[in-house]
């Protein structure tokens, strides 16, 4: 036990003095959060602009109230030069150009350059036209639709970004620390030296593990601290404390991946490359940076076997979807099971020495 504390303390001091390590484990992922948080701050709220070319009766005949209602999602601007208006649509300045032909036909010009914006503007203009058609009948509508968002109205990209990026940060520090510590200790003959001291293998492995778990908790605290700042506006929901056991079991799982990589790697550089090769593709395929909702089916299938995907989803569940123990427990169990399995394999491959 004494050996474990001594090794943990030495490792912690050694790491804390390493600026590169501090940067990559704490600051680098945080930078991503700050950056993505700013980039996506406005969210994906559908707002389009349409250029009205010449007189368009459905628009011109709107009441002020209708106009204000429409203004929330669609801005209408006048540009009576058709060629000029089409140019603006083509270069993406505006989302569509609406004109009324002599026969009373409405024509909406859009650009296929951005599929989402094209679909949005078509939907909005279509809604305006349908509304006008309905009004023209002079009868109350047979069916009306009211929409209601299931999340808190404050839902913002930060609710998605925080769990995803935090998961990625934990995967990075977990995999790297386990892979690098053992390889560096082996290369620097510290393992050999420890083998000559009355220290158990358990203490030698437990010390870097404990340090990494501590780091994961610090990362979590920093992430949640920054994301809940009013500027970013993360609202923690439900039993968000479940993020702590999730983070710890996730960290253990990624360390066991790193441990496995570290058992094969002979040099620190090889270990680092191996860890990066594992973590970065895993992060993309797990939807840590971007939601996988629009990803091809095979990516979504691959994500199902990625521990990071399950960690991110479970973290979203407990951090921003208001879910509880039921959502977290299966993931915690799965992550721990994977950790035990990978650790068992790594221990079989463990070497005190290079040769």
């Amino acid at each position: 036990m004494k050996a474990f504390f001594s090794l943990s303390r030495s490792l912690l001091v050694s790491n804390a003095r390493d600026r590169t390590w501090l940067f990559f484990t704490v600051l680098f992922p945080l930078m991503f959060l700050l950056l993505f948080g700013v980039l996506f701050k406005s969210g994906s709220a559908a707002h389009s602009t349409v250029l009205q070319v010449g007189p368009v009766r459905v628009l011109d005949s709107m009441t002020a109230a209708q106009r204000a209602q429409l203004g929330q999602s669609l801005t209408v601007k006048r540009d009576d030069n058709l060629a000029d208006a089409l140019g603006k649509v083509r270069d993406g300045t505006d989302d569509g150009a609406l004109q009324q032909t002599a026969s009373g036909q409405l024509v909406l010009h859009f650009s296929a350059g951005d599929a989402t914006r094209a679909a949005t503007v078509q939907g909005l203009v279509d809604a305006v036209v349908q509304q006008a058609n309905q009004d023209a009948t002079g009868r109350p509508p047979a069916w009306t639709l009211t929409t209601a968002q299931v999340e808190d109205r404050s839902t913002k990209p930060i609710q998605y970004l925080t769990p995803g990026l935090l998961g990625w940060a934990i995967a990075t520090s977990g995999t790297f620390s386990a892979a690098l510590t053992l390889v560096a200790w082996r290369r620097k003959r510290i393992l050999r030296r420890l083998r000559l001291a009355p220290v158990s293998l358990a203490a030698v492995i437990a010390a870097p593990t404990a340090v990494t778990l501590l780091v994961a908790l610090v990362q979590t605290a920093v992430f949640l601290g920054v994301a809940t700042l009013p500027y970013y506006g993360l609202k923690l929901t439900g039993e968000w404390w479940l993020a702590v056991p999730l983070v710890l079991s996730g960290s253990l799982c990624f360390m066991s991946i790193g441990l496995l990589a570290g058992s094969f790697a002979r040099t620190e550089n090889a270990a680092q490359s191996a860890a990066q090769l594992i973590v970065l593709p895993m992060a993309f395929l797990s939807g840590s940076f971007f939601p996988l909702d629009f990803a091809p089916g095979w990516v979504q299938s691959v994500a199902q076997v990625m521990p990071l995907h399950h960690l991110s989803v479970a973290m979203q569940d407990v951090l921003s979807r208001g879910k509880g123990v039921g959502a977290a427990l299966p993931t915690i169990g799965g992550l721990l099971a994977a950790a035990v399995l990978l650790c068992a394999v790594s221990l079989r491959l463990f070497r005190w020495d290079d040769a």
Binding site: K2, A3, F5, S6, L7, R9, S10, L11, V13, S14, R17, D18, A184, K188, R189, I190, R192, R193, L194, R195, L196, A197, P198, V199, W352, D353
Partner: protein, 305 residues
């Protein structure tokens, strides 16, 4: 077997093969308690493998090793606290200061930090206690690594080339430290690149080549056994080479390089008498055989090629 009578190290018929290379080929040796023992040999002679087998880092293919009455293989937790090993490449935790390194190793052995402080003073590093290990000079790093090997007061100490890469002054300082360690009653096993060092420090040395021990004994005995001629030299001029050859027995080899007249002989008395008669004793130097000669004789090659 009672405590102090048993040998510090007994090795019997150690063999270890790596692929086609027979690294250690039947090594048997005994090191007595309190002895300062040197293991000498050129690179690739099998010294390191022999040490690693003794330390318990490798399993021999054949033969047995016993240290302080215990088997070193498999990893033996009863033996580990009783031996201290200084590895060739200093194994330090990154970015820890000298004091922190020693404290870390001390607590791995369950030794208090006070002992770590004492050890730091003992190797003369108190003023560098706050320096990170990477920033210590070669000699300081070696002393720290020896301190780490000694912090738990082991009975048996292995030192693998502790003075390699040090300047002459640092080497001499380290010799004093090594002598003190031995004077404390600890058994010391040393490998070294320097035969003069082994000659000065070791009670006994074993000369090793091609995985075998060629000869074991006190350096002085090995040198005497060699029966190398004594080389007597005086400044050139006092006596010419021709005169010396004429006056002395044929057995004496005479040469003069313009700086010194050198007379090599196995019976120095007549040579010294002649030089005395001619008043040529001023500036005389006499040199007997050295371990270097023993080594050359045993292996047919110079120690460092």
């Amino acid at each position: 077997m009672t405590g102090d009578d048993e040998a510090a190290i007994t090795a019997d018929g150690l063999r270890k093969r790596y692929g086609a290379v027979q690294a250690v080929d039947g090594v048997s040796l005994t090191v007595r308690r309190g002895e300062f023992f040197g293991l000498l040999g050129p690179n690739g002679a099998g010294k390191t493998t022999t040490l690693e087998i003794l330390e318990g880092l490798r399993e021999p293919d054949e033969g047995t090793a016993t240290l302080l009455g215990e088997r070193p293989w498999p990893r033996n937790p009863r033996l580990l606290p009783r031996i201290g090993v200084q590895l060739q490449a200093s194994a330090f935790f990154e970015r820890l200061t000298a004091r922190e390194q020693l404290a870390a190793f001390a607590s791995l052995y369950g030794v208090g930090t006070r002992r770590a402080e004492e050890m730091l003073a003992r190797v003369g590093l108190t003023e560098f206690a706050g320096t990170q290990a990477e920033k210590l000079s070669g000699g300081q790093a070696q002393r720290l690594s020896i301190a780490c090997a000694l912090v738990h007061e082991p009975e048996l100490v292995f030192l693998d080339e502790p003075t390699t890469g040090l300047d002459p002054q640092a080497r001499r300082n380290l010799w004093d430290l090594l002598r003190e360690i031995n004077a404390d009653g600890r058994t010391v096993v040393l490998t070294t690149h320097y035969l003069d060092e082994a000659e000065i420090l070791c009670d006994r040395v074993a000369v090793m080549d091609h995985g075998r021990l060629l000869r074991t004994g006190p350096p002085a005995t090995l040198i005497r056994e060699l029966d190398a001629p004594t080389r007597i030299s005086v400044p050139s001029g006092a006596l010419s080479a021709a005169e010396a050859s004429a006056a002395l027995d044929e057995e004496v080899e005479v040469s003069d390089d313009g700086v010194s007249l050198v007379l090599a002989t196995r019976s120095p008395a007549p040579v010294l008498a002649l030089l005395g008669e001619r008043g040529a004793l001023h500036g005389l130097q006499a040199r007997g055989g050295t371990l270097e000669d023993v080594f050359l004789h045993l292996t047919g090659r110079a120690y460092r090629e």
